[in-house]
């Protein structure tokens, strides 16, 4: 792996994070982060879809007429998402019920389309694949952080195991019901953006 490949792979984890910097893929993600388990599975599915759709599109990029490229991209992504949907239904039925329509909505996840348009259309397959994995991981990191805080404070559990000790509850501690509500995901992401941008002044908007 060359120096450039490393940059492509690891840049989206921090400085060029798809959610906090590129402003992509906020759509379907927030509603699935109230628990760690569905968030993790969602993140893995999205990473797989981005990586492989980037790879496939990059392989056929020279044969697609540019007028119909959006439809071609959507069909590639939709086919991949259908495969993932069927796999989830077969091996993780409970989680796939919990995620409901949000698995299908990976198709219109802006990260997927954004990376296809911005990267895979103009780069070689291997670099596109790495770019897909990197952006998927950047998305995964954020999703897992948000889900961690929401599940810990909202339900007192992590990955469905009780973490908050009973003595806390006996002393009067209560689970914060607000954390379960979807708007809290936005506020947590806003805090992450705040921290990231106060550390990295280049990212601030004028």
């Amino acid at each position: 792996m060359t120096e450039k490949d490393k940059l492509i792979l690891f840049n989206p984890l921090g400085k060029n994070n798809p959610i906090t910097v590129q402003m992509l893929g906020i759509c379907s993600a927030l509603a699935v982060t109230s628990k760690l388990e569905p968030a993790f599975i969602m993140a893995v599915s999205v990473t797989a879809v981005i990586a492989f759709s980037n790879l496939i599109l990059s392989l056929i990029r020279n044969t697609i007429p540019s007028r119909i490229r959006i439809i071609v991209q959507l069909l590639i992504v939709a086919a991949l998402v259908t495969v993932i949907n069927e796999i989830l239904k077969a091996y993780a039925y409970d989680v796939s019920k919990q995620l409901s329509v949000f698995v299908g909505l990976i198709i219109t996840n802006c990260i997927v389309m954004g990376r296809l348009e911005a990267f895979a259309l103009g780069n070689r397959p291997w670099a596109s694949f790495l770019d897909g994995v990197g952006n998927g991981l950047g998305y995964a990191v954020l999703l897992v952080i948000v889900a961690f805080f929401r599940e810990l404070f909202g339900s007192g559990t992590l990955w469905n195991f009780q973490v908050m000790p009973q003595s806390f509850y006996d002393a009067g501690y209560c689970n914060n019901g607000l954390m379960i509500l979807p708007p809290m995901a936005l506020i947590i992401i806003a805090c992450i953006i705040w921290i990231q941008r106060s550390r990295d002044k280049e990212l601030q908007e004028k």
Binding site: C27, I71, L75, T82
Partner: protein
């Protein structure tokens, strides 16, 4: 009649696409900087929802569902094509958007000029595909109800993006901590509006 009204009100307020499910967030954050364009995009989204949702409803009920192909003859009784629904739905959405773009460009050039750039973007707006997927999940009894649901969801989205644009207009004059400017504060405002919309969820109809 009452059923239609209930579906409409529920889809506008209690199950608002943006504030309860966060669908269509990307274009919501990117295009809510100006009230006029935000309103235009909202109208376009409503329109596309109104066209694609009934079409997908018919496809779902007469082609995709288990046993839906019965009208072709008894041979097709056991056929279940529902695994194809994602691909079919997105194909319908993309084709409709492309078609709409051409029709509007030809017959309504004024509208085309004000919407032009956003129209192709609507194909990848989560709210559109989300509408069709929710329609499939909720199993609406008639196509009328499904269409009402589409209209309500569109109006809810329109309300949300116009409100957000109006707030962001005023925000230019306020003193926000530097790292929060732009994206950060937009997230917090959306969250607060979402909490506001939650007060509707207590209404029973």
């Amino acid at each position: 009649m009452q059923e239609y009204l209930n579906t409409f009100i529920r889809s506008v307020f209690m199950e608002n696409m943006l504030f309860t499910y966060f669908l269509g967030m990307c274009s919501f954050l990117a295009i809510s900087k100006n009230v006029r364009t935000a309103f235009g995009l909202g109208v376009a989204v409503t329109f596309v929802l109104l066209v694609t949702l009934p079409v997908n409803y018919l496809l779902d009920n007469y082609v995709l569902k288990a046993g839906a192909l019965l009208w072709l003859g008894n041979v097709f009784e056991g056929v279940d094509l529902s695994f194809l629904s994602l691909i079919i739905f997105i194909a319908v959405v993309a084709a409709t958007v492309q078609l709409l773009e051409m029709v509007i460009e030809h017959y309504l050039p004024a509208l085309y000029n004000s919407l032009g750039i956003f129209l192709p973007l609507i194909a990848v707006n989560c709210a559109i595909l989300g509408g069709s997927l929710f329609m499939q999940q909720k199993e609406f009894p008639t196509i009328g109800i499904a269409t009402t649901y589409a209209f309500g969801s569109g109006v809810g989205w329109l309300l949300a993006i116009t409100g957000m644009a109006a707030i962001r207009d005023k925000l230019q004059y306020s003193d926000i901590p530097k790292p929060l400017k732009g994206l950060g504060i937009a997230f917090i405002i959306t969250a607060l509006m979402g909490i506001g919309f939650m007060s509707f969820s207590g209404i029973k109809i």
